[in-house]
Symmetry: C2
Subunit: 287 residues, 2 copies
Protein backbone atom coordinates (compact mmCIF):
# COMPACT_ATOMS: atom_id res chain seq x y z
CA UNK A 1 0.00 0.00 0.00
CA UNK A 2 1.37 3.38 -0.97
CA UNK A 3 2.30 5.85 1.73
CA UNK A 4 0.19 8.98 1.31
CA UNK A 5 1.38 10.68 4.47
CA UNK A 6 4.22 12.71 2.98
CA UNK A 7 2.65 14.29 -0.06
CA UNK A 8 -0.49 14.37 -2.15
CA UNK A 9 0.81 13.33 -5.53
CA UNK A 10 -1.93 10.69 -5.79
CA UNK A 11 -4.76 13.01 -4.89
CA UNK A 12 -7.25 13.77 -7.63
CA UNK A 13 -9.99 16.32 -7.11
CA UNK A 14 -13.41 15.55 -8.50
CA UNK A 15 -14.57 18.98 -9.55
CA UNK A 16 -18.04 18.47 -8.06
CA UNK A 17 -16.40 18.81 -4.64
CA UNK A 18 -16.07 22.58 -5.15
CA UNK A 19 -18.72 23.10 -7.81
CA UNK A 20 -20.46 25.92 -5.97
CA UNK A 21 -17.28 27.90 -5.29
CA UNK A 22 -16.05 28.54 -8.82
CA UNK A 23 -16.22 27.63 -12.47
CA UNK A 24 -14.10 24.97 -14.11
CA UNK A 25 -11.23 27.32 -14.94
CA UNK A 26 -11.15 28.65 -11.39
CA UNK A 27 -11.09 25.10 -10.00
CA UNK A 28 -8.17 24.23 -12.28
CA UNK A 29 -6.36 27.36 -11.08
CA UNK A 30 -6.95 26.32 -7.48
CA UNK A 31 -5.54 22.86 -8.19
CA UNK A 32 -2.38 24.47 -9.58
CA UNK A 33 -2.08 26.66 -6.45
CA UNK A 34 -2.32 23.59 -4.22
CA UNK A 35 -0.06 21.26 -6.21
CA UNK A 36 -2.88 18.93 -7.21
CA UNK A 37 -1.93 16.89 -10.25
CA UNK A 38 -5.26 15.40 -11.32
CA UNK A 39 -8.95 16.14 -11.54
CA UNK A 40 -12.17 14.46 -12.61
CA UNK A 41 -14.40 17.04 -14.31
CA UNK A 42 -18.17 16.97 -14.58
CA UNK A 43 -19.77 17.51 -17.95
CA UNK A 44 -21.91 20.45 -16.91
CA UNK A 45 -18.88 22.29 -15.55
CA UNK A 46 -16.99 21.68 -18.78
CA UNK A 47 -19.98 22.76 -20.86
CA UNK A 48 -20.31 25.97 -18.85
CA UNK A 49 -16.94 27.26 -20.09
CA UNK A 50 -17.02 25.35 -23.40
CA UNK A 51 -15.19 22.12 -24.25
CA UNK A 52 -12.40 23.80 -26.22
CA UNK A 53 -11.52 26.15 -23.41
CA UNK A 54 -11.76 23.31 -20.88
CA UNK A 55 -9.32 21.25 -22.94
CA UNK A 56 -6.96 24.22 -23.07
CA UNK A 57 -7.01 24.96 -19.34
CA UNK A 58 -6.45 21.30 -18.53
CA UNK A 59 -3.49 21.11 -20.93
CA UNK A 60 -2.02 24.42 -19.83
CA UNK A 61 -2.16 23.26 -16.22
CA UNK A 62 -0.64 19.89 -17.14
CA UNK A 63 -3.39 18.05 -15.27
CA UNK A 64 -4.14 14.35 -15.47
CA UNK A 65 -7.78 13.29 -15.58
CA UNK A 66 -8.60 10.36 -13.31
CA UNK A 67 -11.97 10.09 -15.00
CA UNK A 68 -14.75 12.07 -16.62
CA UNK A 69 -18.15 12.39 -14.97
CA UNK A 70 -20.35 11.11 -16.33
CA UNK A 71 -21.97 8.92 -18.90
CA UNK A 72 -24.91 6.68 -18.27
CA UNK A 73 -28.58 7.28 -17.50
CA UNK A 74 -29.31 4.45 -19.92
CA UNK A 75 -32.84 3.84 -18.70
CA UNK A 76 -35.42 5.54 -20.88
CA UNK A 77 -38.64 4.85 -22.70
CA UNK A 78 -38.59 4.35 -26.45
CA UNK A 79 -39.08 8.03 -27.14
CA UNK A 80 -35.97 8.98 -25.19
CA UNK A 81 -33.62 6.13 -26.06
CA UNK A 82 -31.96 7.71 -29.07
CA UNK A 83 -31.26 10.89 -27.12
CA UNK A 84 -29.66 8.82 -24.37
CA UNK A 85 -27.49 7.02 -26.91
CA UNK A 86 -26.36 10.25 -28.60
CA UNK A 87 -25.71 11.93 -25.29
CA UNK A 88 -23.47 9.07 -24.16
CA UNK A 89 -21.48 9.12 -27.37
CA UNK A 90 -20.87 12.83 -26.92
CA UNK A 91 -19.69 12.13 -23.39
CA UNK A 92 -17.13 9.66 -24.75
CA UNK A 93 -15.97 12.23 -27.32
CA UNK A 94 -15.55 14.86 -24.61
CA UNK A 95 -13.66 12.45 -22.37
CA UNK A 96 -11.33 11.69 -25.26
CA UNK A 97 -10.77 15.37 -26.05
CA UNK A 98 -9.96 16.05 -22.41
CA UNK A 99 -7.63 13.07 -22.12
CA UNK A 100 -9.55 11.26 -19.39
CA UNK A 101 -8.40 7.84 -18.24
CA UNK A 102 -11.97 6.54 -18.23
CA UNK A 103 -15.57 7.68 -18.33
CA UNK A 104 -17.57 7.10 -15.17
CA UNK A 105 -21.01 5.58 -15.77
CA UNK A 106 -23.90 6.40 -13.47
CA UNK A 107 -26.23 3.98 -15.13
CA UNK A 108 -29.67 5.36 -14.34
CA UNK A 109 -32.53 4.19 -12.16
CA UNK A 110 -36.16 4.07 -13.21
CA UNK A 111 -36.62 5.81 -16.58
CA UNK A 112 -38.81 8.66 -15.34
CA UNK A 113 -35.91 9.88 -13.19
CA UNK A 114 -32.99 9.05 -15.48
CA UNK A 115 -34.47 10.59 -18.59
CA UNK A 116 -37.22 12.95 -17.45
CA UNK A 117 -40.27 12.75 -19.63
CA UNK A 118 -39.97 8.98 -19.97
CA UNK A 119 -43.09 7.00 -19.08
CA UNK A 120 -43.13 6.11 -15.37
CA UNK A 121 -42.22 2.55 -14.49
CA UNK A 122 -41.76 0.54 -11.31
CA UNK A 123 -40.10 -2.34 -13.10
CA UNK A 124 -36.53 -2.37 -11.88
CA UNK A 125 -35.89 -5.64 -13.74
CA UNK A 126 -36.52 -3.85 -17.02
CA UNK A 127 -34.23 -1.04 -15.85
CA UNK A 128 -31.47 -3.56 -15.18
CA UNK A 129 -31.84 -4.97 -18.68
CA UNK A 130 -31.84 -1.51 -20.29
CA UNK A 131 -28.68 -0.61 -18.43
CA UNK A 132 -26.87 -3.67 -19.67
CA UNK A 133 -28.05 -3.13 -23.23
CA UNK A 134 -27.01 0.51 -23.04
CA UNK A 135 -23.53 -0.28 -21.74
CA UNK A 136 -23.09 -2.97 -24.38
CA UNK A 137 -23.96 -0.56 -27.14
CA UNK A 138 -21.81 2.26 -25.79
CA UNK A 139 -18.93 -0.15 -25.34
CA UNK A 140 -18.61 -0.62 -29.09
CA UNK A 141 -18.32 3.12 -29.54
CA UNK A 142 -16.00 3.62 -26.58
CA UNK A 143 -13.63 0.87 -27.72
CA UNK A 144 -13.10 2.71 -30.99
CA UNK A 145 -12.12 5.75 -28.95
CA UNK A 146 -10.01 3.61 -26.58
CA UNK A 147 -12.02 5.08 -23.73
CA UNK A 148 -12.60 2.62 -20.86
CA UNK A 149 -16.07 2.57 -19.32
CA UNK A 150 -16.09 2.57 -15.51
CA UNK A 151 -19.41 1.37 -14.12
CA UNK A 152 -19.95 3.03 -10.75
CA UNK A 153 -22.12 1.00 -8.39
CA UNK A 154 -24.13 3.62 -6.51
CA UNK A 155 -25.45 3.27 -2.99
CA UNK A 156 -28.82 1.46 -3.00
CA UNK A 157 -30.41 4.68 -1.72
CA UNK A 158 -30.06 5.92 -5.32
CA UNK A 159 -31.52 2.85 -7.02
CA UNK A 160 -34.72 4.60 -8.06
CA UNK A 161 -33.45 7.92 -9.29
CA UNK A 162 -29.77 7.59 -10.22
CA UNK A 163 -28.42 4.08 -10.65
CA UNK A 164 -29.89 0.60 -10.40
CA UNK A 165 -26.42 -0.95 -10.32
CA UNK A 166 -25.76 -0.93 -6.60
CA UNK A 167 -23.08 -3.45 -5.68
CA UNK A 168 -19.65 -4.49 -6.88
CA UNK A 169 -21.04 -7.97 -7.52
CA UNK A 170 -23.72 -6.61 -9.82
CA UNK A 171 -21.28 -4.36 -11.71
CA UNK A 172 -18.74 -7.16 -12.11
CA UNK A 173 -21.40 -9.58 -13.31
CA UNK A 174 -22.11 -7.08 -16.09
CA UNK A 175 -18.40 -6.75 -16.85
CA UNK A 176 -18.07 -10.54 -17.07
CA UNK A 177 -20.91 -10.75 -19.55
CA UNK A 178 -19.85 -7.82 -21.73
CA UNK A 179 -16.10 -8.35 -21.65
CA UNK A 180 -15.35 -11.96 -20.78
CA UNK A 181 -11.76 -11.61 -21.99
CA UNK A 182 -11.12 -8.85 -19.43
CA UNK A 183 -9.78 -6.53 -22.09
CA UNK A 184 -9.91 -3.54 -19.79
CA UNK A 185 -12.52 -1.80 -21.92
CA UNK A 186 -15.07 -1.98 -19.11
CA UNK A 187 -14.57 -2.05 -15.35
CA UNK A 188 -15.72 -0.34 -12.19
CA UNK A 189 -15.31 2.96 -10.43
CA UNK A 190 -15.25 2.12 -6.74
CA UNK A 191 -16.44 4.91 -4.47
CA UNK A 192 -16.14 3.97 -0.82
CA UNK A 193 -19.30 5.96 -0.04
CA UNK A 194 -21.41 3.67 -2.15
CA UNK A 195 -20.00 0.28 -1.26
CA UNK A 196 -18.42 0.46 2.22
CA UNK A 197 -21.40 -1.35 3.81
CA UNK A 198 -21.24 -4.42 1.54
CA UNK A 199 -20.27 -7.67 3.28
CA UNK A 200 -18.83 -8.82 -0.05
CA UNK A 201 -16.73 -5.71 -0.69
CA UNK A 202 -13.32 -7.26 -0.13
CA UNK A 203 -14.06 -10.45 -2.04
CA UNK A 204 -15.50 -8.47 -4.95
CA UNK A 205 -12.45 -6.18 -5.04
CA UNK A 206 -10.37 -9.32 -5.34
CA UNK A 207 -12.66 -10.58 -8.08
CA UNK A 208 -12.33 -7.29 -9.96
CA UNK A 209 -8.55 -7.36 -9.97
CA UNK A 210 -6.33 -4.62 -11.33
CA UNK A 211 -7.82 -5.02 -14.76
CA UNK A 212 -11.29 -3.92 -13.70
CA UNK A 213 -10.48 -1.39 -11.01
CA UNK A 214 -10.53 1.73 -13.13
CA UNK A 215 -11.10 4.42 -10.51
CA UNK A 216 -11.07 4.84 -6.74
CA UNK A 217 -13.18 7.56 -5.12
CA UNK A 218 -13.28 8.64 -1.50
CA UNK A 219 -15.42 10.68 0.86
CA UNK A 220 -17.14 9.49 4.05
CA UNK A 221 -20.51 8.30 5.37
CA UNK A 222 -21.81 10.58 8.11
CA UNK A 223 -24.02 9.39 10.97
CA UNK A 224 -26.61 10.76 10.84
CA UNK A 225 -26.78 11.50 7.13
CA UNK A 226 -29.15 14.44 6.89
CA UNK A 227 -29.63 14.44 3.13
CA UNK A 228 -29.27 11.38 0.94
CA UNK A 229 -27.61 13.20 -1.94
CA UNK A 230 -25.81 16.20 -0.52
CA UNK A 231 -24.62 15.32 2.97
CA UNK A 232 -21.54 13.28 2.18
CA UNK A 233 -18.67 13.65 4.58
CA UNK A 234 -15.05 14.77 4.36
CA UNK A 235 -12.76 11.78 4.78
CA UNK A 236 -12.30 11.10 8.47
CA UNK A 237 -15.57 12.70 9.56
CA UNK A 238 -17.66 9.55 9.12
CA UNK A 239 -17.59 5.83 9.73
CA UNK A 240 -15.81 4.42 6.68
CA UNK A 241 -12.49 2.69 7.25
CA UNK A 242 -11.07 4.20 4.05
CA UNK A 243 -7.51 2.94 4.49
CA UNK A 244 -8.72 -0.67 4.60
CA UNK A 245 -10.57 -0.30 1.34
CA UNK A 246 -7.62 1.41 -0.31
CA UNK A 247 -5.34 -1.35 0.94
CA UNK A 248 -7.60 -3.95 -0.67
CA UNK A 249 -7.73 -2.05 -3.95
CA UNK A 250 -3.97 -1.53 -4.05
CA UNK A 251 -3.37 -5.17 -3.14
CA UNK A 252 -4.85 -5.90 -6.57
CA UNK A 253 -2.30 -3.63 -8.19
CA UNK A 254 -4.32 -0.46 -8.49
CA UNK A 255 -1.81 2.39 -8.65
CA UNK A 256 -3.96 5.29 -9.82
CA UNK A 257 -5.27 8.41 -8.17
CA UNK A 258 -7.36 8.52 -5.04
CA UNK A 259 -10.12 10.82 -6.17
CA UNK A 260 -11.99 12.99 -3.71
CA UNK A 261 -15.65 13.46 -4.56
CA UNK A 262 -17.80 15.10 -1.90
CA UNK A 263 -21.38 16.21 -2.52
CA UNK A 264 -22.05 18.35 0.51
CA UNK A 265 -24.07 21.46 1.15
CA UNK A 266 -21.81 21.96 4.14
CA UNK A 267 -18.51 21.89 2.22
CA UNK A 268 -19.98 23.77 -0.75
CA UNK A 269 -20.61 26.60 1.68
CA UNK A 270 -16.92 27.05 2.54
CA UNK A 271 -14.16 28.87 0.62
CA UNK A 272 -12.58 26.76 -2.12
CA UNK A 273 -9.05 27.03 -0.74
CA UNK A 274 -10.18 25.91 2.72
CA UNK A 275 -11.93 22.88 1.27
CA UNK A 276 -8.91 21.92 -0.82
CA UNK A 277 -6.53 22.38 2.11
CA UNK A 278 -8.72 20.08 4.20
CA UNK A 279 -8.88 17.53 1.38
CA UNK A 280 -5.08 17.46 1.19
CA UNK A 281 -4.69 17.12 4.95
CA UNK A 282 -7.22 14.27 5.16
CA UNK A 283 -5.73 12.59 2.10
CA UNK A 284 -2.44 12.42 3.98
CA UNK A 285 -3.91 11.26 7.27
CA UNK A 286 -7.00 9.10 6.77
CA UNK A 287 -7.13 7.96 3.12
CA UNK B 1 -50.77 -15.60 -5.40
CA UNK B 2 -53.56 -14.82 -3.00
CA UNK B 3 -56.23 -12.31 -3.99
CA UNK B 4 -56.18 -9.45 -1.50
CA UNK B 5 -58.68 -7.29 -3.34
CA UNK B 6 -61.83 -8.45 -1.55
CA UNK B 7 -60.86 -8.31 2.10
CA UNK B 8 -57.96 -7.66 4.42
CA UNK B 9 -57.79 -10.90 6.33
CA UNK B 10 -54.05 -11.17 5.60
CA UNK B 11 -53.22 -7.64 6.71
CA UNK B 12 -51.10 -7.32 9.83
CA UNK B 13 -50.40 -3.93 11.33
CA UNK B 14 -46.96 -3.27 12.70
CA UNK B 15 -47.72 -1.08 15.67
CA UNK B 16 -44.90 1.36 14.83
CA UNK B 17 -47.09 2.55 11.96
CA UNK B 18 -49.35 4.42 14.39
CA UNK B 19 -46.98 4.74 17.34
CA UNK B 20 -47.50 8.47 17.74
CA UNK B 21 -51.30 8.30 17.69
CA UNK B 22 -51.97 6.06 20.68
CA UNK B 23 -50.62 3.55 23.16
CA UNK B 24 -50.54 -0.18 22.60
CA UNK B 25 -54.02 -0.78 24.02
CA UNK B 26 -55.50 1.98 21.87
CA UNK B 27 -53.84 0.51 18.78
CA UNK B 28 -55.29 -2.92 19.57
CA UNK B 29 -58.73 -1.31 19.98
CA UNK B 30 -58.36 0.35 16.61
CA UNK B 31 -57.43 -2.96 15.00
CA UNK B 32 -60.62 -4.48 16.42
CA UNK B 33 -62.66 -1.57 15.02
CA UNK B 34 -61.21 -2.10 11.58
CA UNK B 35 -61.36 -5.89 11.45
CA UNK B 36 -57.59 -6.32 11.51
CA UNK B 37 -56.64 -9.80 12.66
CA UNK B 38 -52.91 -9.47 13.33
CA UNK B 39 -50.30 -7.08 14.62
CA UNK B 40 -46.55 -6.91 15.18
CA UNK B 41 -45.86 -5.03 18.41
CA UNK B 42 -42.71 -3.12 19.32
CA UNK B 43 -41.08 -3.78 22.65
CA UNK B 44 -41.17 -0.18 23.85
CA UNK B 45 -44.90 0.02 23.18
CA UNK B 46 -45.48 -3.20 25.10
CA UNK B 47 -43.26 -2.03 27.95
CA UNK B 48 -45.16 1.25 28.17
CA UNK B 49 -48.37 -0.51 29.25
CA UNK B 50 -46.62 -3.49 30.87
CA UNK B 51 -46.14 -6.97 29.42
CA UNK B 52 -48.96 -8.59 31.42
CA UNK B 53 -51.51 -6.05 30.28
CA UNK B 54 -50.23 -6.27 26.71
CA UNK B 55 -50.66 -10.05 26.76
CA UNK B 56 -54.19 -9.59 28.06
CA UNK B 57 -55.29 -7.03 25.47
CA UNK B 58 -53.86 -9.16 22.68
CA UNK B 59 -55.70 -12.24 23.96
CA UNK B 60 -58.93 -10.41 24.61
CA UNK B 61 -58.87 -9.05 21.08
CA UNK B 62 -58.04 -12.48 19.64
CA UNK B 63 -55.14 -11.06 17.65
CA UNK B 64 -52.44 -13.04 15.90
CA UNK B 65 -48.89 -11.72 16.09
CA UNK B 66 -47.03 -11.83 12.76
CA UNK B 67 -43.83 -11.06 14.64
CA UNK B 68 -42.37 -9.19 17.56
CA UNK B 69 -40.11 -6.17 17.06
CA UNK B 70 -37.38 -6.51 17.91
CA UNK B 71 -34.35 -8.41 19.04
CA UNK B 72 -30.85 -7.78 17.86
CA UNK B 73 -28.35 -4.96 18.26
CA UNK B 74 -25.73 -7.64 18.79
CA UNK B 75 -22.77 -5.36 18.14
CA UNK B 76 -21.23 -4.10 21.34
CA UNK B 77 -17.89 -3.74 23.03
CA UNK B 78 -16.92 -6.19 25.78
CA UNK B 79 -18.44 -4.02 28.48
CA UNK B 80 -21.86 -4.08 26.83
CA UNK B 81 -22.01 -7.62 25.50
CA UNK B 82 -23.65 -9.26 28.50
CA UNK B 83 -26.35 -6.58 28.56
CA UNK B 84 -27.04 -7.23 24.88
CA UNK B 85 -27.30 -10.96 25.53
CA UNK B 86 -29.68 -10.53 28.48
CA UNK B 87 -31.77 -8.01 26.60
CA UNK B 88 -32.22 -10.39 23.68
CA UNK B 89 -33.24 -13.25 25.92
CA UNK B 90 -35.87 -11.05 27.50
CA UNK B 91 -37.11 -10.18 24.02
CA UNK B 92 -37.54 -13.89 23.27
CA UNK B 93 -39.42 -14.38 26.55
CA UNK B 94 -41.74 -11.48 25.75
CA UNK B 95 -42.36 -12.77 22.23
CA UNK B 96 -43.26 -16.13 23.70
CA UNK B 97 -45.62 -14.61 26.27
CA UNK B 98 -47.35 -12.62 23.56
CA UNK B 99 -47.64 -15.60 21.23
CA UNK B 100 -45.60 -14.13 18.38
CA UNK B 101 -44.85 -16.24 15.32
CA UNK B 102 -41.24 -15.05 15.28
CA UNK B 103 -38.96 -12.40 16.68
CA UNK B 104 -37.62 -9.90 14.18
CA UNK B 105 -33.87 -9.25 14.48
CA UNK B 106 -32.44 -5.86 13.63
CA UNK B 107 -28.89 -7.00 14.07
CA UNK B 108 -27.03 -3.79 14.86
CA UNK B 109 -24.48 -1.70 12.99
CA UNK B 110 -21.27 -0.33 14.47
CA UNK B 111 -21.22 -0.87 18.25
CA UNK B 112 -21.26 2.80 19.26
CA UNK B 113 -24.70 3.14 17.64
CA UNK B 114 -26.16 -0.27 18.45
CA UNK B 115 -25.24 -0.24 22.12
CA UNK B 116 -24.55 3.40 23.03
CA UNK B 117 -21.55 3.76 25.26
CA UNK B 118 -19.65 1.07 23.38
CA UNK B 119 -16.19 2.08 22.17
CA UNK B 120 -16.37 3.62 18.67
CA UNK B 121 -15.29 1.40 15.81
CA UNK B 122 -15.14 1.67 12.02
CA UNK B 123 -14.54 -2.03 11.57
CA UNK B 124 -17.64 -3.35 9.87
CA UNK B 125 -16.00 -6.77 9.43
CA UNK B 126 -15.85 -7.14 13.19
CA UNK B 127 -19.48 -6.04 13.39
CA UNK B 128 -20.45 -8.75 10.91
CA UNK B 129 -18.70 -11.36 13.03
CA UNK B 130 -20.31 -10.12 16.26
CA UNK B 131 -23.71 -10.29 14.66
CA UNK B 132 -23.26 -13.88 13.60
CA UNK B 133 -21.91 -14.86 17.01
CA UNK B 134 -24.82 -13.10 18.69
CA UNK B 135 -27.43 -14.78 16.54
CA UNK B 136 -25.78 -18.18 17.08
CA UNK B 137 -25.89 -17.72 20.82
CA UNK B 138 -29.45 -16.43 20.89
CA UNK B 139 -30.53 -19.27 18.63
CA UNK B 140 -29.81 -21.83 21.34
CA UNK B 141 -32.03 -19.94 23.74
CA UNK B 142 -34.76 -19.28 21.17
CA UNK B 143 -34.93 -22.91 20.11
CA UNK B 144 -35.77 -23.91 23.67
CA UNK B 145 -38.64 -21.44 23.53
CA UNK B 146 -39.61 -22.60 20.03
CA UNK B 147 -39.34 -18.99 18.91
CA UNK B 148 -38.05 -18.59 15.33
CA UNK B 149 -35.52 -15.84 14.73
CA UNK B 150 -36.23 -13.71 11.66
CA UNK B 151 -33.13 -11.82 10.49
CA UNK B 152 -34.27 -8.62 8.80
CA UNK B 153 -31.85 -7.36 6.17
CA UNK B 154 -32.04 -3.59 6.50
CA UNK B 155 -31.44 -1.09 3.71
CA UNK B 156 -27.72 -0.36 3.36
CA UNK B 157 -28.45 3.23 4.40
CA UNK B 158 -28.75 1.81 7.95
CA UNK B 159 -25.53 -0.23 7.89
CA UNK B 160 -23.70 2.06 10.32
CA UNK B 161 -26.34 2.70 12.92
CA UNK B 162 -28.96 -0.06 12.78
CA UNK B 163 -28.03 -3.22 10.93
CA UNK B 164 -24.95 -4.41 9.06
CA UNK B 165 -26.93 -7.25 7.48
CA UNK B 166 -28.18 -5.53 4.35
CA UNK B 167 -29.11 -8.05 1.70
CA UNK B 168 -31.08 -11.27 1.43
CA UNK B 169 -27.91 -13.03 0.27
CA UNK B 170 -26.05 -11.96 3.40
CA UNK B 171 -28.90 -12.98 5.72
CA UNK B 172 -29.33 -16.34 4.00
CA UNK B 173 -25.60 -17.03 4.13
CA UNK B 174 -25.89 -16.64 7.90
CA UNK B 175 -28.94 -18.92 8.00
CA UNK B 176 -27.06 -21.56 6.01
CA UNK B 177 -24.16 -21.50 8.42
CA UNK B 178 -26.23 -21.50 11.62
CA UNK B 179 -28.97 -23.85 10.54
CA UNK B 180 -27.75 -26.01 7.68
CA UNK B 181 -30.60 -28.46 8.18
CA UNK B 182 -33.14 -25.68 7.50
CA UNK B 183 -35.01 -26.48 10.69
CA UNK B 184 -37.03 -23.27 10.52
CA UNK B 185 -35.46 -21.95 13.72
CA UNK B 186 -33.84 -19.08 11.83
CA UNK B 187 -34.92 -17.33 8.66
CA UNK B 188 -35.54 -13.88 7.27
CA UNK B 189 -38.06 -11.08 7.62
CA UNK B 190 -38.33 -9.57 4.16
CA UNK B 191 -39.36 -5.91 4.10
CA UNK B 192 -39.78 -4.64 0.56
CA UNK B 193 -38.48 -1.22 1.63
CA UNK B 194 -35.09 -2.63 2.48
CA UNK B 195 -34.52 -5.02 -0.40
CA UNK B 196 -36.56 -3.84 -3.40
CA UNK B 197 -33.45 -2.41 -5.14
CA UNK B 198 -31.46 -5.68 -5.04
CA UNK B 199 -30.75 -7.25 -8.45
CA UNK B 200 -30.65 -10.61 -6.67
CA UNK B 201 -33.95 -10.21 -4.83
CA UNK B 202 -35.95 -12.75 -6.79
CA UNK B 203 -33.21 -15.38 -6.86
CA UNK B 204 -32.60 -14.97 -3.15
CA UNK B 205 -36.32 -15.30 -2.37
CA UNK B 206 -36.20 -18.57 -4.28
CA UNK B 207 -33.13 -19.61 -2.33
CA UNK B 208 -34.87 -18.79 0.96
CA UNK B 209 -37.87 -20.94 0.21
CA UNK B 210 -40.92 -21.23 2.40
CA UNK B 211 -38.83 -22.57 5.25
CA UNK B 212 -36.84 -19.37 5.66
CA UNK B 213 -39.43 -16.77 4.73
CA UNK B 214 -40.72 -15.99 8.20
CA UNK B 215 -42.26 -12.56 7.68
CA UNK B 216 -43.23 -10.21 4.86
CA UNK B 217 -43.34 -6.46 5.47
CA UNK B 218 -44.56 -3.73 3.17
CA UNK B 219 -44.42 0.04 2.78
CA UNK B 220 -42.97 2.05 -0.12
CA UNK B 221 -39.84 3.92 -1.20
CA UNK B 222 -40.58 7.56 -1.91
CA UNK B 223 -38.68 9.65 -4.46
CA UNK B 224 -37.32 11.87 -3.10
CA UNK B 225 -36.87 10.34 0.35
CA UNK B 226 -36.57 13.35 2.63
CA UNK B 227 -35.44 11.52 5.76
CA UNK B 228 -33.60 8.22 5.76
CA UNK B 229 -35.42 6.82 8.78
CA UNK B 230 -38.81 8.46 8.96
CA UNK B 231 -39.95 9.19 5.41
CA UNK B 232 -41.17 5.78 4.34
CA UNK B 233 -44.15 5.73 2.06
CA UNK B 234 -47.66 4.31 2.17
CA UNK B 235 -47.92 1.42 -0.26
CA UNK B 236 -48.63 2.80 -3.72
CA UNK B 237 -47.07 6.20 -3.09
CA UNK B 238 -43.54 5.18 -4.08
CA UNK B 239 -41.65 3.17 -6.66
CA UNK B 240 -41.73 -0.38 -5.32
CA UNK B 241 -43.56 -2.98 -7.38
CA UNK B 242 -44.93 -4.60 -4.23
CA UNK B 243 -47.19 -7.12 -5.95
CA UNK B 244 -44.25 -8.62 -7.83
CA UNK B 245 -42.31 -9.18 -4.63
CA UNK B 246 -45.35 -10.68 -2.89
CA UNK B 247 -45.89 -12.96 -5.89
CA UNK B 248 -42.31 -14.20 -5.60
CA UNK B 249 -42.63 -14.78 -1.86
CA UNK B 250 -45.95 -16.60 -2.22
CA UNK B 251 -44.58 -18.68 -5.08
CA UNK B 252 -42.31 -20.20 -2.43
CA UNK B 253 -45.33 -21.14 -0.35
CA UNK B 254 -45.41 -18.21 2.04
CA UNK B 255 -48.99 -17.93 3.28
CA UNK B 256 -48.64 -15.60 6.25
CA UNK B 257 -49.63 -12.03 6.89
CA UNK B 258 -48.61 -9.06 4.82
CA UNK B 259 -47.43 -6.73 7.55
CA UNK B 260 -47.60 -2.98 7.13
CA UNK B 261 -44.73 -1.13 8.76
CA UNK B 262 -44.41 2.56 7.94
CA UNK B 263 -42.01 4.89 9.74
CA UNK B 264 -43.24 8.28 8.60
CA UNK B 265 -43.45 11.68 10.20
CA UNK B 266 -46.13 12.38 7.63
CA UNK B 267 -48.40 9.44 8.51
CA UNK B 268 -47.69 9.77 12.24
CA UNK B 269 -49.22 13.22 11.96
CA UNK B 270 -52.61 11.92 10.81
CA UNK B 271 -55.50 10.45 12.85
CA UNK B 272 -55.08 6.74 13.60
CA UNK B 273 -58.34 5.71 11.95
CA UNK B 274 -57.47 7.57 8.76
CA UNK B 275 -54.09 5.86 8.59
CA UNK B 276 -55.60 2.43 9.15
CA UNK B 277 -58.34 3.03 6.58
CA UNK B 278 -55.69 3.98 4.03
CA UNK B 279 -53.60 0.92 4.94
CA UNK B 280 -56.61 -1.33 4.32
CA UNK B 281 -57.45 0.33 1.02
CA UNK B 282 -53.87 0.08 -0.25
CA UNK B 283 -53.55 -3.48 1.00
CA UNK B 284 -56.47 -4.37 -1.23
CA UNK B 285 -55.27 -2.43 -4.28
CA UNK B 286 -51.48 -2.34 -4.49
CA UNK B 287 -50.05 -5.00 -2.13
Amino acid sequence: MRDFSNDHRWLSLNTATVRKQGDFAQIVDACARHGIRAIDPWRDQVAAIGLDRAVKVVRDAGLDLSGYCRGGMFTADDAHRQAARDDNRRAVDEAKALGASCIVLVVGGLPQYSRPGSAPSKNIGVAHAQVEDGIAELLDYAKQASMPLAIEPLHPAYAADRACVNTMRQALDICDRLDPSRSGAVGVALDVYHVWWDFELLTQIERAGKNRLLAFHVCDWLVPTKDILNDRGMMGDGVIDIKSVRAAVEAQGFAGYSEIEIFSDDWWGRPMDDVIRTCIERHRTVV
